[in-house]
Subunit: 227 residues, 2 copies
DNA sequence: ACAAAAGTGTTAAGATTACACCCATGG
DNA sequence: CCATGGGTGTAATCTTAACACTTTTGT
């Protein structure tokens, strides 16, 4: 499970400290084995609940890739099916449950050094983040990083944090408020953050986003032939 | 493996007739088990070679999803990692090799009746086709359905066949010939098909397509709130 | 000459970008 | 009053869609 959230202006991922070999004491992505009678999605939901105490409500869980290299686990051949989960910055009841010492860690730091995470989890995290970035372009899932009611600026900060870019506040505002089914006005206004109070919105019913939000400001198309 | 091609104006998929139970005599997608020392991509390449006699050249192979429901194989718990392969309409040397009687079957017919394919292969095929459709929008992979040199019209027919839509020939022509790195002029001209002879192109070096090709003519955005 | 396919031109509508500008709030 | 953030207006540029129109070929 690559459980992502936006916390303290950074994309963060849930990691556990390994309590036994191999990779004793190293950081790893949470996960586990399939149990009898479960399909893959159910197993992912169960693992998520065990690690975070959260049910599938308010969390978007999605399979994104399988990993099956022969040497990825020194104990033997293991095939893993990886899932990304996007969720708001909720308190994680690590104290209760099986208390596996799950904690948030900024993604940027983990991606810098491929040797921090155990197994091939650096690669898995990297793939998951890339997957999540694409999802924000084409779907309305950015709202799953937000609390139930949020402002347009909060939503923009999610995009800016996950993409690592800056977006024009006025154009972003128009785009998301006009996209059909993306945002529903909640009626109330947020507390002031030093200026005019912003309108609050809830996530709408749309899942696909059209037109898509562009990730880079006029990124160059494909590969060039003559630079 | 969901091996797709465009043949006789239809999207077709490589199927095998099962030679032993379960599902004896029924149609199924080709596939097999991981061997020692292989990672998932290598296993997919090997299976593709065994079924079609073709190497990874001229074929695009890509993992798209894992399947692990507890009852998907009556013999016991099997987790499958599914791959799509896109290839041109090449003759398949089924006679040689392990002669598993692989053959092309139109996708449309197979998707109509969920009970034709063995196991959960109807679902897998359906997911693969959806994945392939999305890939054509955002990447230049449509060229992998074409022979080494092809005309713009041939390429357009690939899109029309896979998407099941009709596209405006003139607008399509402009779009793909201007997309940077998509098509490279091959110099020659194709034989006439009843009219003016078309220029031949080869696939360019770009892999991503920007701007993306739109699948539906002005498809309605997301979900509507008030119909 | 004519039909059919290939490819170019044109125009209106929609999207994107950049940025000026007004609105509302707290200090 | 005024700095700060929220939100709307506007014009240049790009993209799309629809379709008229020219070019090239086989019959």
């Amino acid at each position: 499970m690559v459980v992502l959230t936006v916390r303290e202006h950074a994309l963060q991922v849930l990691v556990v400290e390994r309590a036994k070999p191999p990779f004793f004491g190293r950081l790893a992505l949470p996960g586990g084995f399939l149990e009898d009678g479960e399909n893959l999605d159910e197993a992912a939901q169960r693992e998520l609940a065990e690690e975070t105490g959260l049910a599938a409500e308010q969390v978007h869980v999605r399979q994104f890739r399988g990993y099956g290299g022969p040497d990825r686990d020194p104990r033997g051949r293991v095939v893993s099916v990886a899932y990304v989960a996007l969720m708001p910055d909720l308190p994680i009841p690590t104290a209760g449950g099986d208390a596996r010492a799950a904690r948030w860690e900024p993604v940027a730091g983990l991606l810098e050094d491929p040797a921090v995470l155990a197994f091939d989890h650096h690669r898995i995290l990297s793939d998951a983040v890339e997957h999540a970035r694409d999802m924000l372009s084409h779907t309305t899932l950015a709202t799953t990083f937000c609390p139930p009611e949020f402002t347009v600026t909060q939503l923009r900060e999610v995009y800016e944090t996950v993409w690592g870019t800056e977006l024009d506040p006025s154009n972003f505002h128009r785009k998301v408020t006009r996209a059909d089914g993306f945002l529903v006005p909640a009626g109330a206004k947020a507390a002031s953050d030093g200026g005019r109070r912003a309108n609050l919105y809830r996530a709408g019913t749309a899942t696909q986003l059209y037109p898509a939000l562009l990730r880079e400001h006029h990124s160059k198309p494909g590969a060039r032939q003559e630079p």
